[in-house]
Amino acid sequence: CVCLYVNLNGFLGLTLGTALVTPVEPHFTECMSRDLETFRCWWSPGTFHNLSSPEELRVFYLKRNSPSSEWKECPEYSHLNRECFFDANHTSIWIPYCLQLRGQNNITYFNEDDCFSVENIVRPDPPVSLNWTLLIVSPSGLSYDVMVSWEPPPSADVSTGWMRIEYEIQYRERNATTWEALETQPHTQQTIYGLQAGTEYEVHIRTKMKGFPKFGDFSDSIFVKVTEIPLRESAVLLTLVLTFGVAGILILIMLIVVSHQQRLMMILLPPVPAPKIKGIDSELLKKGKLEELDFILNGGGLGGLPTYISDYYQDEPWVEFIEVDEEDADCGEKEDQKSSDTQRLLGLPQRSVGCFSADSHPDDDSGRASCYDTDLSEQDTHLLAASLLPGQPEDEEAFLHPDEKAPASETNKSPLIQTESEGKPTWINTDLYAQVSNVMPSGGVVLSPGQQLRIQENTEKESQKKGTLGEDTSKLNKPQFQLLVVDPDGSGYTSEITARQISTPPSSLVPGEGYQTIYPQPMETKPAAPSEPNQSPYILPDSPQTRLFAPVADYTVVQELDTHQSLLLNLPTQQPPPPCLPQHPLKAPVAIGYVTPDLLGNLSS
């Protein structure tokens, strides 16, 4: 059947049903109470056309509070609306009411389903005085919260507690179709969260009785809108502040790190202990402060090194020293400030000749004593060595001394001395760099001269000494030269170059050829007239000395300095090392001047 539904506003709604249209009898459409004190009922006449006038239908009601109740007529009619109004006197709560329609001829239209209790038909009025306030806007300015407040409906008696009302808010965007509903709650205000700025919202509220399902009508809508606040400036400011703040903090951290860098590095990367060489300050070596290093090594002065060092390192057996000025130490004399390092290196007597004695030899296991017991006269050696030195006024005495001491007047010596004396001034003017050809066991270094005269003289000596020394035959053929230790400025600087020795091949040795031509390698100044024998800076070595000379290579590494301040060079392996060329493993050379660490290693090896 098709059911017609007519509501209070007169809106006609058709519900779908079958095609059959059956006449509908008069019936009640709705009964409603607004305040739980009164109620109304509306009826519809139906499709019966018999009833021409609306007054023909009459409403009767029955209150079932007692078994003897009877039907009574509607206390108040409103025929215009087809409404029956029950006032407070006629309204009883919690009592079932039944209504019926009666037409003419006492035809009653009654439906059992139309019975009700008033509390079940309550639909409260909507709230009044709706308004909204802005609670808070989000920092981005895009969304905001709104507090909506209202007043309870005036018809509902809430103050006496007779009615307990709950409210339901619904909102939607202006042009939206669906409503968003919030939870029903009994308070007269509620917050709507998360509304978007710039959008207009429509809000309305409806009420219902607590504990009962029926809602009342919606209230009039209110419109909520918050204009979008452009917060660009504040955002930019915020970002600027943040950036500068972060930069400031970073700078502060950097400053702290830099100021406490050392401490931080110590904490983060603790230094690894590195090996140190005693007596050698690596810092001085690195910085190249040769004078200071030399000063330190020399013990603050010339000749003081042995005492200083020997006292310092007496407990260190592995420490080897090049005893530069042993004689002075033994003799207990003061160091001669003026004597050069080269003199000391060569073992030349400086002041006290008395120190030149066998007793002055260091009592070590070097075996050098044997060397000195041999034919080699140390005095000659020293004489020769001294003669090789660049001219110094004090050397005259030194030169003269051995002359006095040596009773044996070899013809060779005097010319030697003479040549020495002659050669002294020439020596001064001569080239500072020369090639070392051989090193004497006593410590003298032989330089290769450039004069044939010397060669001839030498060869005579060699032939004489050949018979005496058998084992040194190999050495005799070798032109012997003494080492020229050049100390131009007296600073003690001795270059490696000057310590080189020209290696003369044994095959080239010919008795006739006493001397070889010198090939100075890193030559700064060449001798002006090497042809002149008198001006030759080179001195012919003595024959007794020559035989003891071991043939050495042209270039050798300075092994060490012996007690007589002579450089001991590495001998070539092909030649048998002379017995008097001892190795002093126990003594480590102490550099007079600047020595590179690798050279130092070579020296000490």
């Binding site: 004190e37 709560i93 389903d113 019975c115 038909i121 809430v158 103050s159 507690g161 607590k210």
Partner: protein
């Protein structure tokens, strides 16, 4: 005490005196030290609120159960159903309107509430029993009926407490007792409710729980109107 020397006994006595005095003052000193207007009624208002909340919950449960019954049996338009009998509590005279409820004396209103609560104690228990026996009802409904039955008990105790408080405060007279003979009430219509169907019971209880809720609210707003009415 044998081991107690006089000095310590004196100390103990002093301490006891202090404690007792404190206890007595504690009784007098409640939430309101200066006895402001209405301040001393705050605990009563809180009690009322609690009781009202309880009754609201009870009514909600009964409403749920009633709706469920209607789904199974009788869908009705106005939730009226077909009540074949009057409720067994209809003999209790209750105010049926707002004016009546406001005109009635407080003590009478309180008494009516208590009567209602007492009247429903046994029927609800039996209702629960019959509910659990029926298989067509879900466990949910069975739990609700049990809860409903328990709530009636609790609510009665709560209302008694409120009445006691009111009597203590002198708001109502001491005429409202524990309705010393609830059995007397039940004897008159003790058999009536047994003949009621389960559905009718639910309908009646739903109505009566609403009555109780309303009466309690009215009573509160009459006695302590400033605390949330």
């Amino acid at each position: 005490l044998p081991g107690l020397d006089p000095l310590s006994a004196v100390w103990v006595g002093i301490i006891c005196l202090v404690f007792s005095s404190r206890l007595s003052t504690m009784k007098a000193a409640s939430i309101c030290p200066n006895d402001q207007t209405g301040c001393h009624l705050l605990p009563l208002a809180n009690l009322f609120d609690r009781v009202i909340q309880h009754s609201a919950r009870m009514h909600g449960i009964s409403d749920d159960l009633h709706s469920e019954f209607e789904l199974y049996f009788l869908p009705s338009k106005n939730q009226i159903g077909r009540v074949s009998r009057n409720c067994h509590t209809s003999t209790i005279l209750t105010p049926n309107g707002k004016e009546n409820a406001q005109r009635i004396a407080r003590e009478e209103l309180a008494e009516i509430i208590l009567k209602l609560l007492v009247a429903w104690r046994d029927p609800l228990w039996h209702f629960h029993q019959s509910m659990s026996q029926h298989d067509e009802f879900t466990n949910f409904s069975s739990n609700k009926s049990l809860e409903m039955s328990d709530m009636v008990h609790e609510l009665r105790k709560g209302v008694l407490k409120v009445v006691e408080k009111m009597q203590m405060l002198g708001i109502i007279s001491n005429s409202v007792g524990d309705t010393g003979s609830p059995e007397a009430l039940l004897t008159s219509d003790s058999a009536e409710w047994r003949f009621m169907k389960d559905y009718d019971l639910l309908y009646c209880f739903r109505r009566d729980s609403n009555k109780i809720q309303n009466y309690l609210k009215i009573l509160k707003c009459r006695i302590v109107p400033k605390h949330g009415c």
